[in-house]
């Protein structure tokens, strides 16, 4: 089996969000970048587990980004994977990422592709589905469990107020979230091994060059006007405010 895991670089969850004075771009100074948590904890770790279960599995990682994404890719390789690819493009949209990855998939051939549920910066939740659509493969989104018996994949996915369990054959694209696996901390051996694993840079395909969207500007949400504190013992006042002022009950 040949597995591809899509790895994206995002600002750390606790990063201070600020924009350039013209409000056009995200201010990266002083921001620490991490592997998108869903990609690292769930997609990658589950793929590494599958490789442990089926040792002849080939596991590749891919990111679409500039050279500054390579440390992230190396860190991912320290958790697992045989080789990594970086498509040299700074994407701003979902389809640019998906088109770049699809071109590589068509060239290299895979049986199974894992993405994260969403990137925590753009929150698109779209790359997995778009990629599956380009490849015309079945797609299971927001998976909380994935098992493979050598023939059939059993996938559990979240739905409103419950979950669905379905079966699919490969090839398959799955977007992963909590439940798929437990976070792993890379060990020293993994970190050393990652330094020498192949990392190949690919040119972005022409169809991925032009984004379908343009970002006009960003803004921070208006500051809350401050909390209205109610004395303990005066809960009836809170109920009144929720009814009369906020009108939510």
């Amino acid at each position: 089996m040949k597995i591809l895991v899509c790895i994206s670089k995002t600002a750390d969850t606790t990063a201070k969000i600020a924009f350039t004075p013209d409000q056009k771009s995200f201010l990266e100074t002083g921001v620490q970048f991490i592997i998108n948590p869903y990609d690292e904890w769930y997609a990658l770790v589950r793929a590494v587990e599958l490789k442990e279960q089926y040792p002849d599995t080939v596991l590749h990682l891919i990111t679409v980004g500039g050279a500054d994404a390579e440390p992230i890719l190396r860190k991912a390789l320290a958790i697992g994977g045989d080789a990594a690819f970086r498509v040299d493009l700074q994407p701003i949209s979902i389809e640019q990422v998906a088109l770049s990855i699809a071109a590589h998939v068509k060239q290299e051939g895979y049986d199974l592709i894992f993405t994260g549920k969403e990137t925590i910066d753009y929150n698109g939740s779209g790359v997995g589905g778009y990629l599956a659509g380009l490849l015309d493969w079945p797609f299971v989104s927001l998976a909380t469990r994935f098992d493979y018996n050598g023939q059939t994949a059993t996938v559990e996915r979240e739905i409103e107020g419950g979950r669905e369990i379905c079966e699919a054959s490969l090839p398959l694209v799955v977007s992963c979230q909590k439940g798929m696996a437990e976070q792993r901390i890379p060990n020293m051996r993994g970190i050393m091994a990652a330094r020498t694993k192949p990392l190949q840079v690919l040119a972005a395909p022409p169809e991925a060059q032009q984004p379908a969207i343009s970002i006009d500007h960003f803004a921070l949400p208006p500051k809350k006007s401050g909390v209205h504190l109610i004395e303990p013992g005066n809960e009836e006042e809170l109920v009144r405010l929720l009814h009369e002022e906020a009108k939510v009950i």
């Binding site: 589905g129 778009y130 989104s141 927001l142 979950r163 006009d216 809350k224 504190l229 303990p232």
Partner: protein, 324 residues
């Protein structure tokens, strides 16, 4: 030209987010003198429900009445939608940014060669830009789609429908290029988690954190939720410790929720927790520590011991609602 909306249903009951999207589409359409077409997949056991989509703004309903479409499958649904959109020479298709919409919209956009914008929270402005939350709700981006064909997903609980009394014209529609043979995913089992309201659809959520000390203390949380008709949620350590089921975990790594009212009890308000709840319209925080960061994101707060405040709050709500 019409605006198409995927109206997701389960056994004849339309998802709340689907009705919101129809309503949103009707707002979008009225400024452009367009009409709204609702697309319904799979068999329906309450045919009335179809025409009733008119109340939410659908002028027409195209019903793909086929048993092989009863279970959601992103690929099959996208192929059917693509055929339909092509046949009607449509240029715009909307759906909710919910579990199914997040799978179907990108799949459709790829197949139909449309631009994709997910998780929008506004109507387009005069520059044709839509607002979308980015950085897990910590900022907003104004984004414009450059393509003629567009697939858009709307964040749930952003628009509140005001149902009218129109009825939609219902038609059956059958695909000719897609069939049951193309099905590659088989649904085996559906497990519904018990609870009053699914978290993602709840308009009120009562949420508990580590400050509640242990699972045995959730009785009052359940009771508060009960009197409010709310759903229950929790912080991540609470789910990790097994005090509450995992599907209740909200935040960066759990569910993102946008209720009208979020009541946080014994939760400190870590940035990762806020990321999942900061879209709530109103936030109430009950915490014994006046320095808890959650108070900065709150609209109303009570600094006090949850074990004293919550029972009194339950009584106050019962009194207000006239429940004895």
């Amino acid at each position: 030209m019409a605006i198409f909306v995927f109206a997701d249903q389960h056994q004849g009951t339309f998802k709340k987010a689907a009705l919101e999207t129809l309503f949103y589409a009707s707002q979008l359409a009225s400024s452009r003198q367009q009409e709204v077409v609702a697309v319904v997949m799979g068999e329906i056991n309450q045919p009335r429900a179809l025409a009733d989509l008119g109340k939410y703004g659908a002028r027409r309903v195209l019903h793909v009445d086929a048993a092989w479409l009863n279970d959601f499958d992103a690929r099959l649904y996208a192929l059917v939608l693509k055929e339909m959109l092509n046949q009607y020479a449509a240029d715009r298709c909307l759906m909710p940014h919910d579990f199914n919409g997040r799978a179907l919209a990108p799949y459709l956009a790829a197949q139909w060669q449309a631009g994709l914008l997910t998780g929008i929270v506004s109507l387009p402005d005069d520059k044709d830009c839509y607002q979308k939350q980015v950085f897990s709700g910590k900022a907003t981006a104004w984004i414009k789609l450059q393509t003629e064909r567009q697939v858009l997903t709307l964040l749930p609980n952003t628009f509140t429908p005001q149902p009218g009394d129109s009825q939609a014209q219902v038609e059956r529609w059958q695909p000719t290029q897609v069939s049951a043979q193309q099905k590659r995913i088989q649904l085996k089992e559906v497990q519904t988690t018990q609870g009053r309201v699914p978290l993602t659809e709840a308009s009120i959520i009562v949420s508990g954190g580590r400050g509640l000390k242990g699972p045995e203390n959730w009785g009052m949380i359940e009771q508060l939720a009960e009197v409010l008709g709310a759903a229950t949620a929790c912080s991540r350590p609470v789910a990790d410790a097994g005090w509450r089921p995992h599907h209740e975990h909200v935040g960066q790594t759990g569910l993102t929720v946008r209720p009208n009212l979020y009541i946080a009890i014994g939760i400190s308000g870590a940035i990762q927790h806020l990321a999942g709840v900061n879209g709530s319209k109103y936030i109430v925080v009950i915490n014994k520590d006046p320095e808890a960061p959650f108070f900065q994101a709150a609209d109303y707060g009570i600094v006090g011991d949850a074990f004293e405040v919550v029972p009194r709050l339950i009584e106050a709500i019962k009194k207000y609602k006239g429940i004895s």
